[in-house]
Symmetry: C2
Subunit: 358 residues, 2 copies
């Protein structure tokens, strides 16, 4: 691999320039106002794919999806096919006053590069194409077949991704998938993510009556939908134990002893975890006793109330509320079936509601 490494060293400036070209395009997908820039960033990715030596480079779509940039190199018959995933859309620039440099200009500071989307996920595009180019431009071939897909709507939930895979099934068929949109455990420590938690979300809505009623007139008599929702969601409280949902852990794949040892060898301690998560002084973690943070956040399911609304603080008036709602989001882990988890959770939350609210 000496030749490839030397090529990379020699072309470092060129690769950084390419990342800079990607970062300069404001491919924000969350506000629906940057479609032209998203088209441009897909085109730029295609251009860089061609430069790296990929073939059959094309913009693909599914329905009214944002453009996916696709390229492949299939010159290694009999060898496995590796599927590379990344995305070229980015989050908006919030808190612009907190940026130390122009978010749309890749800027070096203390040996690191800063810019909107530089880490999430345009850097992955450059890294993948750099690795590909280093082979194709030195020995003229790759040790495996490669199919590379760079999608354009990851930041808005990849809602066309499932249909896209169905539609382009044959073209995308591969042996291994490498998702290059994960994190390093620590700066300077290369990390391989080999397990990701999935997600199941439930919208929980409680209703007791057809209208709000003045609390002076109905307080204590009319079932309080907001309080009923609190009672229902509070059933999820696990303190520092297991989630109390029946059957929930049945399919959870056990950690091997080797994995456990590996997790404990990784850097990080209570102090750094608290600091990284911004935990307030005195507030405890919700980890089950004896469970390592990495085991919890990588390999154990979790339930989070990601939104809740009953009237609003600003619009509050003295009324018994007839309706309240929340979104409960569930992180699932290997071997858990999303459909079954959804059913378990639904049953758990709808059984015996306070005052028989609907």
């Amino acid at each position: 691999m000496q030749a490839q490494l030397e090529w990379l060293k020699a072309h470092d400036g060129e690769l950084v320039g390419q990342l800079g070209d990607l970062v300069a395009i404001q491919s924000i997908s969350t506000d629906g106002e940057h479609q032209r820039e998203i088209d441009r960033s897909a085109d730029e990715v295609c251009k860089q794919m061609r430069w790296a030596g990929l073939e059959n480079v094309a913009i693909l779509k599914s329905g009214d999806s944002n453009p996916y940039a696709y390229g492949e190199w299939l010159g290694a018959p009999g060898k496995p096919t590796v599927f590379l995933y990344a995305h070229h859309d980015v989050q908006p620039v919030n808190f612009v006053q907190d940026w130390q440099s122009d978010p749309w200009k890749l800027t070096e500071r203390d040996g690191r590069f800063y810019g909107r989307g530089a880490a999430d996920d345009k850097g992955a595009i450059t890294v993948q194409l750099g690795a590909i180019a280093s082979y194709l431009k030195t020995v003229g071939k790759l040790p495996v077949n490669v199919k590379m897909l760079v999608e354009g709507e990851e930041e808005v939930g990849s809602k066309n991704l499932g249909a896209f895979f169905q539609e382009h099934k044959e073209r995308l068929q591969s042996d291994i998938i490498v998702v290059c949109d994960t994190e390093n455990i620590e700066t300077g420590l290369p990390s391989i993510t080999y397990s990701l938690r999935g997600i199941v979300a439930l919208h929980v809505e409680v209703q007791s009556a057809t209208k709000p009623v003045h609390s002076g007139m109905a307080g204590g008599m009319l079932a309080d939908a907001a309080l009923a929702l609190n009672v229902i969601l509070s059933r999820l409280y696990w303190k520092n134990g297991k989630l109390p949902i029946p059957g929930f852990y049945k399919k959870v794949r056990k950690l091997t002893a080797k994995e456990k040892r590996a997790f404990r060898k990784l850097p990080g301690n209570n102090k750094t975890w608290r600091r990284d998560l911004g935990v307030l002084k005195g507030v405890q973690f919700s980890l089950k006793k004896g469970v390592h943070p990495h085991e919890q956040t990588w390999r154990l399911p979790a339930v989070t109330v990601i939104a809740q609304e009953a009237s609003s603080i600003k619009g509050a008036s003295n009324q018994v509320l007839p309706k309240a709602e929340a979104i409960v989001s569930c992180r699932i882990v290997p071997d858990q079936d999303p459909g079954k988890v959804g059913k378990q959770l639904t049953r758990f939350l709808t059984e015996g509601p306070p005052w028989d609210v609907k």
Copy 2:
């Protein structure tokens, strides 16, 4: 009282016309955009007070309050002084498409009058002034002294009312207060409200960390502030018993046997209460077993979650929330001390929070 009743019959049209003049003024106090109309309705009330024969009629204010219309008749020395209260501001017109006639035009339908503010609370002004006029315009005097105050910011919480009473203490000094902003138990059945519940409101805020963290990265580890708030508020759940707040009922004045009998004699049954409150089929009342609805809503305290927010349903993203808040509103009854109730409730809600959240 024959002369007065005859006078009222003869002047019915005139009184309805005066109510119509009041209803026509869009004295909405909730949006801050109708100050001119509020000034106009205060002036109109003063005009009608003078017409009825009240003396020393004036616009009074306290600080930057909306205008209070004030008038008095003190020609019965040695007799008690009755203080009459009403308000001339109104709620905005929501659901305008559901109105069967112009909200700003007093309209008769099936023997009843409709218009924004006709019942709440402009009708009270006309009724009070009609009664006063019927005496002053027939026998030339009232059987008691009268001080009448019509305020202009009841719909926005009467926030200057306390200071107003302090400031105008001497002028307002009276023996009896009659609040004409209450309800009839049934159409056509005159009702005297002799007990009103007060209110104590708490803003409950829970915080676990300084920022939201992606639920894939922290779910199950970082204390979920939204869930913690659910656990805290769920402690209030009384099912069909008493509120579980220690000491909460200690000072509550007991109903006398006479009151109990009187409550049970009033019209209304389960069916009409359910219909009036719009209760969904199958949903139960939250009344304590054996407690009559009137006893609960007139003479027993209650706690209501009148608002709750943790992110918003629309803005939900997959994050463990570091903060959640709610407003808990408490109805208090005779002999309960608002300060003590506030303390009891605060203690109850802040003791031993889940994961020691703040």
